[in-house]
Symmetry: D3
Subunit: 335 residues, 6 copies
Amino acid sequence: MALVELDLDALQEYRPEVAEPADFDAFWDETLATVDRLDLDPTFTPIDNHLALIDSYDVVFTGWGGTRVRAWLHVPAGTQPGAGLPCVVQFQGYSGSRGLPYADTVYAQAGWAHLIMDTRGQGWSTGGVDPTPDDAPEAGIHHSPGFMTAGIADPHTYYYRRVYVDTVRALQTAATSPLVDPGRLLVTGASQGGGLSIAAAGLAPRVGIRLLGSAPDVPFLCHFRRAVALTDAHPYGEITQFLAGWRDQVPAAERTLSYFDGVNLARRADAPTLFSAALMDPVCPPSTVFAAYHAYAERTGQTDKHIAVYSHNGHEGGGPYQLGARLAWIADRFA
Amino acid sequence: MALVELDLDALQEYRPEVAEPADFDAFWDETLATVDRLDLDPTFTPIDNHLALIDSYDVVFTGWGGTRVRAWLHVPAGTQPGAGLPCVVQFQGYSGSRGLPYADTVYAQAGWAHLIMDTRGQGWSTGGVDPTPDDAPEAGIHHSPGFMTAGIADPHTYYYRRVYVDTVRALQTAATSPLVDPGRLLVTGASQGGGLSIAAAGLAPRVGIRLLGSAPDVPFLCHFRRAVALTDAHPYGEITQFLAGWRDQVPAAERTLSYFDGVNLARRADAPTLFSAALMDPVCPPSTVFAAYHAYAERTGQTDKHIAVYSHNGHEGGGPYQLGARLAWIADRFA
Amino acid sequence: MALVELDLDALQEYRPEVAEPADFDAFWDETLATVDRLDLDPTFTPIDNHLALIDSYDVVFTGWGGTRVRAWLHVPAGTQPGAGLPCVVQFQGYSGSRGLPYADTVYAQAGWAHLIMDTRGQGWSTGGVDPTPDDAPEAGIHHSPGFMTAGIADPHTYYYRRVYVDTVRALQTAATSPLVDPGRLLVTGASQGGGLSIAAAGLAPRVGIRLLGSAPDVPFLCHFRRAVALTDAHPYGEITQFLAGWRDQVPAAERTLSYFDGVNLARRADAPTLFSAALMDPVCPPSTVFAAYHAYAERTGQTDKHIAVYSHNGHEGGGPYQLGARLAWIADRFA
Amino acid sequence: MALVELDLDALQEYRPEVAEPADFDAFWDETLATVDRLDLDPTFTPIDNHLALIDSYDVVFTGWGGTRVRAWLHVPAGTQPGAGLPCVVQFQGYSGSRGLPYADTVYAQAGWAHLIMDTRGQGWSTGGVDPTPDDAPEAGIHHSPGFMTAGIADPHTYYYRRVYVDTVRALQTAATSPLVDPGRLLVTGASQGGGLSIAAAGLAPRVGIRLLGSAPDVPFLCHFRRAVALTDAHPYGEITQFLAGWRDQVPAAERTLSYFDGVNLARRADAPTLFSAALMDPVCPPSTVFAAYHAYAERTGQTDKHIAVYSHNGHEGGGPYQLGARLAWIADRFA
Amino acid sequence: MALVELDLDALQEYRPEVAEPADFDAFWDETLATVDRLDLDPTFTPIDNHLALIDSYDVVFTGWGGTRVRAWLHVPAGTQPGAGLPCVVQFQGYSGSRGLPYADTVYAQAGWAHLIMDTRGQGWSTGGVDPTPDDAPEAGIHHSPGFMTAGIADPHTYYYRRVYVDTVRALQTAATSPLVDPGRLLVTGASQGGGLSIAAAGLAPRVGIRLLGSAPDVPFLCHFRRAVALTDAHPYGEITQFLAGWRDQVPAAERTLSYFDGVNLARRADAPTLFSAALMDPVCPPSTVFAAYHAYAERTGQTDKHIAVYSHNGHEGGGPYQLGARLAWIADRFA
Amino acid sequence: MALVELDLDALQEYRPEVAEPADFDAFWDETLATVDRLDLDPTFTPIDNHLALIDSYDVVFTGWGGTRVRAWLHVPAGTQPGAGLPCVVQFQGYSGSRGLPYADTVYAQAGWAHLIMDTRGQGWSTGGVDPTPDDAPEAGIHHSPGFMTAGIADPHTYYYRRVYVDTVRALQTAATSPLVDPGRLLVTGASQGGGLSIAAAGLAPRVGIRLLGSAPDVPFLCHFRRAVALTDAHPYGEITQFLAGWRDQVPAAERTLSYFDGVNLARRADAPTLFSAALMDPVCPPSTVFAAYHAYAERTGQTDKHIAVYSHNGHEGGGPYQLGARLAWIADRFA
């Protein structure tokens, strides 16, 4: 990447045009209305997590198409119903699942509720227990290996339609927990988890959820067109691989992606935000991150926006350094 | 690979034990009985293929679970119903589809009927028209990128159950064409297409089809256990990638694969066969091919078996040289 | 490549200055006059190609320096002398030979004559039968591995002088066949075959041949200077490798290449043309293709020019999609 | 790796001869006596870690040569002097430091004390705060990039002499904490951290510390000779790189390494142990791990030994799965 | 690299701003004054070099911090004290040592004295005899593998402070030899040796040495900031690797490097110079070389400057071609 | 490579059967007789080499087919006719030429005559002056990139027939120099230069030359069959690449190579020898070197044989260390 990408001065000014379909809002209204007809039916089952200081719950709720989506809810040990903890909802990077229950509890260690949502169908890099299927019939229609092109010929069949909806349902699930204060929710995640944080932040106002913040790190799923042109690294490269064979489906795929572009979803977010980007990131190139950052809350006027920049990092980004910054920022948001 | 693999002398004697589940035959009887309840409903629609010498038909038939599977049927231009052409049924390599209709017509050029079956869900390397979906609900349950691990936790949900069944249905479809002599069918294909040729040859007797031959080139889907241990090349490597994350699913995955192992299916084939293998093949290592070759027709006593060996080739194998040998061999089989 | 190359908007306007030696025309006049003194002596020997629908002939003619160059001529089975078929003359990609006779007959399947010329000395990726030697004494003078730098110190000894001449001789050979209409010839090929199509189209007017069309795909051998600076992929990289050692021969090599640059040859073509380019092609970067495309027929005023652009492809370009477009375009040209 | 390495059956029986110098015990007695003359001078300074449930202390103690070595001590929030918590002492993988204080607290979450030691000089992959220097004058003598060959010409100057000593000092430091029960210490770590766990377990008896257990994962620093022959992956490859230049220092380097080989240190361990190995690990090949495992406690007769094997993993090994197994095993050891 | 780097026209004009600390001169005055207090104590011991035409001496002198630095002095066989030979002082590329005494004697073959200095701590790619340690206590403080980041947090502890000082001491050592004319010294070297040639040329005036020339080839250690952004090749990549972990040390590292940047040192040189650069150099990108070249002697007004450009080479640059040019240029300087 | 290759104990016993054609001796007698009819016509032209201590001569002699082959002859400055210096004849590694005249004079520095022969057609990695063409008409017949397969279909047209003959002519040329003692010749070289040293040593007795020694380092061109199976590194990989395409030419190529196999030539050598091998050499695997070493002088009974083994090196082998050993060994041979 290096100087092939824009340098930091140019990134600070990078506000590209990203196509937005005329029926973008209608699409999402219809989508959310469709899933809204399904009972959320959340369940919270306490489990043994080997950890004396943390109580963990196996969470299941109904996502898109009736799929039962899994999550963990971690809270400080002994937290009782009515505790009204603020809750951090975390989405996972591409390939990951919610993982094993003792693997990541940091926001619960900080004293909050911590909900980690499975990304349907994924999890091959982490494994775990009781995975969440992507059991939609359209899941298997022609695609290149990976999830990026599953159903890409039409926005109604695209994989991330189901996943984006799941993020909203996860927020609704968190809000039903007697341990959680439904008025103090915040989303975060890195890479795909960052992209989903933007999606959740962009869709939440549409279902009447007012998030206290969104904190996407090196987010994926932003400015697809440039990303695909700039990098052949996976997972963006899955799109290139698919369109290299299905050459006639380029227009359809580009149309579909425009409904899911983090830039378009970011415009509609209204929560304060803390982004991070890495200048040598070959997976989620910084210009695609800045494109979403600059667009963030453009429609809502929220001006409480920050972006941390890591100059010598690749896709690992700020890692534990940014975790520290995020813990402090969330503490402020929850104060 | 080279000397890490067995050398030719050792390959000639390589007859490994490959686990076969006790209910292998019952599983396939049940599977074939299930699909047999669905109407095959084959359609043959003439299309314009730009080729003066070849008539092509867009073929659709009902495969596993009701999926409408696509194929091409190519015949010499002007072939009329009742012609009774012998038919070569061809399966495609991993990532490929039936492709565009003028892309591969070699067996029709030879004067025969030539049916090329889509592999459901695949096609990203070639593109084409009207792809075949893998529209089973279990298609999207947790897997690593690619099709090798889709539904691998159980033989009933495994992707190749659906595909293997489709190969049998393709044979039945060919047999219904008024241009084809249903008593003169033969299967062939390279890599995945070779694996499917073995599967079709192993399953055909179970539905009363007596093939005139099977000609698998550098076949995939054979002796999974050794393949996964020997190579990290894709697509076998997709299995490793999946089990590296879902560490607790190794026994379930190994059990599932045993129902689909080309070695076990080869044992049950009864048609004469022409294999080919390449000694420097890192994708389908030659020992996995020889394992299937030596097992081939073990249960049926068919002794008309040949294997061509290419000493300096990788997965491309004999390529056009083997095509020439195959054309001659098929001409003999059809004579 | 990606954004390091020009984007499509810039490519549409990319008309670089490419050096042309003052004696370019004199050089080619002298070259063609030299070979013209040799008897073409074409022979057409029918062979068995395993294909019922195609008749194939083993063709031999005298190319540069007396070398006997091989080709296949494929025609619909039963074509008789006097048939007057229009003929597609095809040149091969770098590393390939005319191949085995049943490997590629698509233009004969379309109902035309199809002549495939060997590229002297090449063929290692395909093998075949009775290869064509490059038996010039200057073939072995110092060069880096491959054919790109053989004799590069002087235009008179450069490998492609011999090959470009061979393409003209192939056209003359096709015209002598009693099965072919000498007034309806067309050239095509991909990569090196595309570069040779441009060369043949640029040289044909010089010997009084009026082609009905030229259809180069992702052509090689264009705008050498930029190509070498832009990519280290082979075969352009062979030039870099040679000049990295023979540092003092840079000016001589650049001078030599200017006599063979597809941009300079394209300027002199007068036949209608159908190009194709791929935006992610690291082997023949699209700017080098567009440089030739924009220059094409600049000197002759032919305005029937088209270029197909594949946005997500590498050097495989449009593959079967472009084959379909080409079959339709040729049918129009031959109509 | 795959079948080039031994398969699992062979690994179960793999007990290679590993050279042990005659003065091995004398060397370590002298080494430990030397450092014993230095005041340990441990300090424990509470810090803000952003975590409500965990109290963290910045720990500093005097290691080899007077170097002030850093560590974190994490305990459940509110733990008071005299609590007598059992303590897990963790060593880090090559390239890592103790990291940032909120990055890894899992054993404290389990209810125990958790001490994480810096590896002197390292930390470039994680960064952190107040790094530990390797401020010995011999640190900079000729070596290849990395720490593996620093001072390798003589066991007295070798880098790991200093580090192995630090591990013993870390145990002594943990024992001085008023929060910790000095009779309930246990060591663990992965990769280099695994190698250091073996070293600490092998040296602890020499200073009168009786560990309750050692849990090395995919340990590094074992059977150097085979490791260097089997893999060119780093960090073992640093040794190859060094000896490729300093060809005359092979005997000296092999002698030095014999004093630090995990196989020789394992022989002297007396605590129960839980190893893990991964069959596709190219960094710490499984045969080198099994060599240490089989040798473990050979001299002391401890028979409470287990090894977990991950069949499809590389150097990531069992990851969170093995963490779960380890948490359960440690709970048993501390019960 | 290719067109991502600047092209030759742009390089000819490339004069970037490179930060120079306000106390740059004070830092180097203090540094040189510090080492000046140490006795140089040069020794010259004749050795057997297997070469009848060359006499070689094992040279040792006191460098920074008292380290005894090694060098070879080669002269024509039979040269006697008082000969007053002009002397070429050569510095080595990264990873190399002075090597074995018969490995490189070219300037002695030309009839001059030839002194080759060890780079402290290095030598792993060549080996040799009696290596030079970097036995400063700060050598081992936290760094990423390699020497580029050793002590980078502060200019006083940075590795190249010690090495740059050694180059001045090597000049002073050469001047003490009874075989050498102390008024006719010249420095050269490639890559790191080129960077050290610039450093020596920039520092020499500060200690009253007037060099007859400096001849850096493809010099390293110039315009660090751009180099690190432009290439991830090693050794510049070691800096990126370090700062990717120690994210908070970016400002400190950039400040440190500004004291050692070849651009800043070049400004202060006053000797005639012959640079060389390679346009496809991924290790020392040509823009970083041109940055130093254009800055060279900016403060002193020396205008006798030349740069040779190799258009098709990577980091090997002009190799033997430039050696020939350099021999001729040095002969002129010594004439 | 590592443990895939044989370990040192096995190498010490490795004496494989290598096929030798029945007419091997007849072939070489005929070949040498053919060239013997051509006038050697050696010329020695003094040139300016920039080196005061060395006199260099541009040497030209007639090699196979009348090609004028180039060489350098270096001697101590001032050597006069009749000096009767012993002479080291050096052959170059694959890709190299005799190079520039000041690039390598080590054996002249040792006080001897030093003749360096061009390898016809090669030199792309070094460049140089007045290259030696391989101007045989068969040089350009079909081959894969590189020289390994040029004319491989028949021993009479194979490239190395011409080169092996050139080595004998170089010996004869050296013997004609008035500066050289024709009775004291010795051959050496590394990689291809090592293979040519073996060839020259094996052929010299056939023309009545009694060499004082041969010193091949990590020799190439030995035990082709195993080499090709064991490594895909170039240049052996060129053979694989060729036979992967020209699948039907495997027997012809293997027959041709048997006339040029260093194992068969080594058998016939009668001079004392000093080999070297590197255990991690992926280019010339050590088993192929040992195969030649063990066969060396099998037919002549010469027992003065040594082999140096470098345990941690790749194809660079012993480098300067082995140069030192070789200088000492040659000094003994010439004493």
